[in-house]
Amino acid sequence: MNGVLAVLLLVAQQPGAPPGRVAASLTRLFGPGARVDTLRVDSFTVMRVSRADSLLGFAAVGNVPGKDQPITFLVAVDPADRLRDVDILVYREPYGGEVAYEAWRRQFRGKGTGDSLRVGREIRSISGATISVHAVTLGVRRLLAQLTAWHQSGAIQ
């Protein structure tokens, strides 16, 4: 419980993203027509995605501070707790918007909590977007760990 609280403090879900953006992101990641149920773990919202009674995965929205604005992103995992993809839902910074590019985000696909996600190694950086690259990588690592821990403990299923 203490562990969960500590993690909750690290990934803030406010500010949120427009519901349309979240829906579009889930459609892109899991295909059209998937069923989305909202689960609550303490005050945290996790989306459970399924189709015809089979679990497709989980997704959650998180925020990390960029240089002066929060970056709102979505992390989606499959039932084996592997990253399906990362989406940048709202980007508010003056520079560094390249973290929303598919070419950068796809570096996260298939990674699990056992994989190392370090900028400059597994995750290539982008010049001029250093702050955002570090911020989003850190945020994804934390949210992935959070979702995986909850899934393995049965808090989400």
Partner: protein, 374 residues
């Protein structure tokens, strides 16, 4: 009674909604960067110098989800004193961003012309070498900032192109010089003449490990001096630049090329008694290797060994009446190390070979420095 209950309920509703909205949107952020230098040029009459080159406070405030202020207040050389040389307190940038969509943000205020690499990305941990490249002083006059309005955003179509374009106040030819080109012509937001509105912009393409950009500046420089030029675009200056940054494995490469045409250099020289070149050109290439990657593969720290070679000439072409000073055709080679315990702190050391085509006043410089950003 019912009325009072209604008010009470409304009050509760406001209480529960307003703080969340404020917390989510209106916020003030503090940041900063700075650098301290030690430099020791060879030669008997040039003792080593230590200097707190820059101390910059970054202050940002978002008024709502779309509107934000961003500013950098800088103290150069640690101290400003009346009558004493050196030292400067100035705003490096101060602008409002109004974000309409991913594709369009309106930016207005004191902005950085988006030319080359260093002018916009100038925090010390982002570049190798204690001091910025000489090219980014004498050719692209960093930190270059002027007042204006413009648009920035991502180009539609998902091709990964980012643009920035601004209409700003112009340069003033009265400040141009032979050795530092257009540098002295910057107005930097201080009671700037808007007699010569100028345009500047950049198109940039990025991928993980890649960034390639092209940038320009075009505008008149005559101000109110009709002997130099007339009209909004009198005595125009045209700057074109390309830059590229590439990271692969332990290696990081970067290069910049720029050319500046000073169309009425002859009239400018006649009016102000200068020897300004009609063409200013040059560039540099730099290769860095993170040696820690081989020595300590698990470490997230970096030790970049680098070499940079700059070649530039502020009198690449001269107008009638000026004899080229070959000492202005400079070649600077810098060898050094940058130790980065974190990605946003840097301890630097380098050795520079400062040469020129005339072989005049050639010297070496040993430098050490620290820098940070947050």
């Amino acid at each position: 009674m019912a009325k009072a209950g209604c008010k009470w309920a409304l009050g509760l509703a406001l209480l529960s909604v307003v703080p969340r909205v404020c917390a989510a949107q209106e916020r003030t952020t503090l940041g900063g960067y700075g650098e301290v230098h030690y430099s020791n040029p060879t030669g008997p009459s040039t003792p080593p110098v230590v200097n707190l080159a820059r101390f910059v406070v970054y202050l940002a405030h978002s008024f709502d989800a779309r509107l934000a202020l961003r500013s950098e207040l800088e103290v150069e050389d640690a101290k400003v004193e009346g009558g004493a040389a050196g030292g400067e307190v100035s705003l490096e940038q101060a602008y409002l961003d109004y974000r309409l969509s991913d594709g369009l943000t309106i930016r207005t205020g004191l902005v950085l012309p988006p030319v080359g690499i260093i002018n916009e990305t100038h925090e010390p941990p982002t570049f190798n070498g204690v001091d910025r490249p000489g090219f980014d002083h004498d050719v692209i006059p960093t930190t270059w900032r002027e007042i204006g309005i413009g648009a920035v955003g991502t180009m539609p179509g998902g091709g990964g192109l980012v643009y920035r374009v601004y209409l700003v106040n112009g340069l003033r030819a009265a400040g141009f010089s032979d050795a530092e080109g257009i540098r002295g012509g910057r107005q930097e937001g201080r009671q700037a003449s808007f007699a010569n509105p100028s345009i500047t912009g950049r198109l940039e393409w990025a991928r993980p490990g890649w960034k390639v950009g092209g940038s320009f500046w075009y505008g008149g420089t005559a101000d109110t001096n009709t002997a130099v030029g007339t009209g909004s675009f009198g005595a125009p200056v045209t700057l074109l630049a390309v830059d590229a940054r590439h990271d692969v494995g332990a290696f990081a490469l970067r290069g910049v090329l720029a050319g500046i045409s000073v169309s009425d250099a002859q009239a400018i020289n006649a009016a102000y008694g200068q020897s300004v070149g009609s063409r200013i050109a040059g560039g540099y290439i730099e290769v860095a290797c993170n040696v820690l990657r081989a020595l300590a593969p698990a470490s997230s720290q970096k030790v970049d060994a680098f070499v940079r070679h700059e070649r530039y000439d502020t009198q690449a072409d001269v107008p009638v009446g000026v004899t080229r000073d070959r000492a202005l055709a400079r070649r600077i080679t810098t060898l050094g190390l940058t130790y980065k315990p974190t990605w946003n702190t840097a301890f630097k050391g380098d050795y520079q070979l400062v040469r020129n085509a005339a072989g005049a006043g050639e010297h070496d410089v040993l430098s050490f420095g620290v820098g940070y950003q947050f």
